[in-house]
């Protein structure tokens, strides 16, 4: 948590100097190459760290007479906090006054498609165009996705018991990222890339 706090604190302090990430070079330090770290194309000491995916944060379930069963679930960006410490340590030793930031997402979508349709009477994590998130918010240090699933009988009798056994559903979040591509001569051109992040919907272990 402390690592995340430092990461985003440095983001707010450095917001005036950063430009765009160089998206065709992963400069994750040796031994930490399961992470994606991009450097800024203008500031040599500003770095961007990508999340590994989205993990379930909250899971609430209620029974209702009309809707039978309602699941409300939140997903949060999943940063590997232990590795963030190591990355910060590496750049602290190798770069003067390093700072870190979040990559800006555009067209941020949870790609449920119609995969949940057999299990729900209604789902409200998108409300206007299919696969578009209606509710995306920042709480100062992270991004959330909130969904509400109103389960039908199959959802209650088959899906929930399946999740309660420690199983998961596999989805993805897609986004567009504006960045810079570094060319062979050292110059840059602006690019927008499409990226996907894995998202796992599972049941809380403690429940």
């Amino acid at each position: 948590m402390k690592a995340l706090f430092i990461l985003f604190l440095s983001f707010f302090f450095s917001i005036s100097t950063y430009a765009l990430p160089v998206v065709n070079e992963n400069i994750a330090p040796p031994g930490l190459q399961n992470m994606v770290v991009w450097r800024d194309h203008q500031s040599p000491s500003h770095f961007y760290i990508l999340p590994k995916g989205f993990r379930r944060e909250d899971y609430y379930q209620w029974g209702f007479t009309i809707h039978k069963e309602l699941i409300q679930v939140s997903f949060r960006q999943d940063f590997d906090t232990e590795n963030i410490y190591k990355i910060q340590d590496y750049f602290y030793k190798n770069t003067k006054y390093p700072s870190y930031g979040e990559v800006e997402f555009e067209d941020f979508n949870l790609n449920l498609g119609s995969m949940m349709d057999n299990f729900v009477t209604k789902k409200t994590c998108y409300n206007y165009v299919e696969t578009t998130i209606a509710h995306l918010e920042y709480d100062g240090d992270n991004r959330y996705v909130h969904c509400r699933f109103y389960l039908n009988e199959i959802g209650m009798n088959d899906l929930v018991p399946f999740l309660q056994k420690g199983k998961f559903l596999a989805y993805s979040v897609s986004a567009k990222i504006k960045g810079m591509k570094r060319l062979a001569d050292g110059s840059y051109i602006p690019v927008t890339i499409d990226v996907g992040f894995p998202l796992k919907l599972n049941y809380p272990k403690s429940k």
Partner: protein, 218 residues
């Protein structure tokens, strides 16, 4: 201002640049692809061989499935569906890769190796599987080389009989994963020319981890 910008570029261009994509230096016959960097002679990039079913931190394969019936179909088997979930991870052919790295390190002890950075990646789901599938979300955008790739399938009756049975017997179900990289091509004049290339590798759902998997043998 120009000087400052130039200084920034030089400072930041340091170690990492672009792979020379027409210069695979892996030994002939090896399963891996290793490209050198066009600026740093100690930097090398390796490419994925394929994607395989991922394992979680406990070594458990990230695959599960459950069967359900649509309402009102009673005992009819035609109404059965199977929701199958999996996450895939990159297969670098680790043994081959480690052999190649060891060989390069003998002549270049300071050599550094990184997985290739994708500009973009996407799963290309096979049309051949469509008769067996009621729905899927497998043709999703991917992330970088070390990120998990999700895939959810809803099998129809035919799919349960064929695909689930194949997987339970250890037979593979395959589709493709495309990734785009931004590199350079080495030539004469200019020595390096920018090039964006799309490569395709197989996604292998199946293998010994799924043989008689409890979710498939229902």
């Amino acid at each position: 201002m120009k000087t400052l910008l130039l200084a920034g570029l030089i400072f930041s261009s340091g170690l990492y640049a672009a792979p020379i994509v027409n210069k695979n230096i892996a030994t002939k016959g090896s399963k891996v692809t290793i490209w050198p960097d066009h600026l740093d002679s100690n930097q090398f990039y390796y490419a994925p061989k394929s994607l395989k079913l991922a394992k979680d931190e406990n070594g458990k394969v990230m695959f599960n499935a459950f069967e359900y019936k649509m309402p009102g179909c009673g005992l009819l088997k035609q109404c059965r569906l199977m929701y199958m979930n999996s996450f895939f991870e990159v297969d670098f052919a680790e043994k081959d890769l480690n052999d190649q790295i060891a060989a390069i390190m003998q002549s270049q002890p300071k050599a550094k190796f990184s997985p290739i950075a994708y500009m973009e990646s996407v799963v290309i789901f096979s049309n051949l599987l469509k008769p067996f599938i009621a729905d899927h979300n497998c043709a999703s955008r991917g992330g970088q080389a070390m990120d998990l790739v999700p895939c959810g399938l809803i099998l129809n009756k035919k799919g349960i009989e064929k695909i689930a049975m194949m997987l339970s017997e250890g037979l593979p179900v395959t589709f493709n994963f495309n990734y785009t990289i931004s590199g350079v091509v080495e030539g004469e004049n200019p020595r390096y020319r920018n090039e964006e290339r799309i490569y395709s590798v197989g996604v292998n759902m199946g293998g010994e981890d799924l043989i008689h998997h409890p979710d498939l043998d229902q």
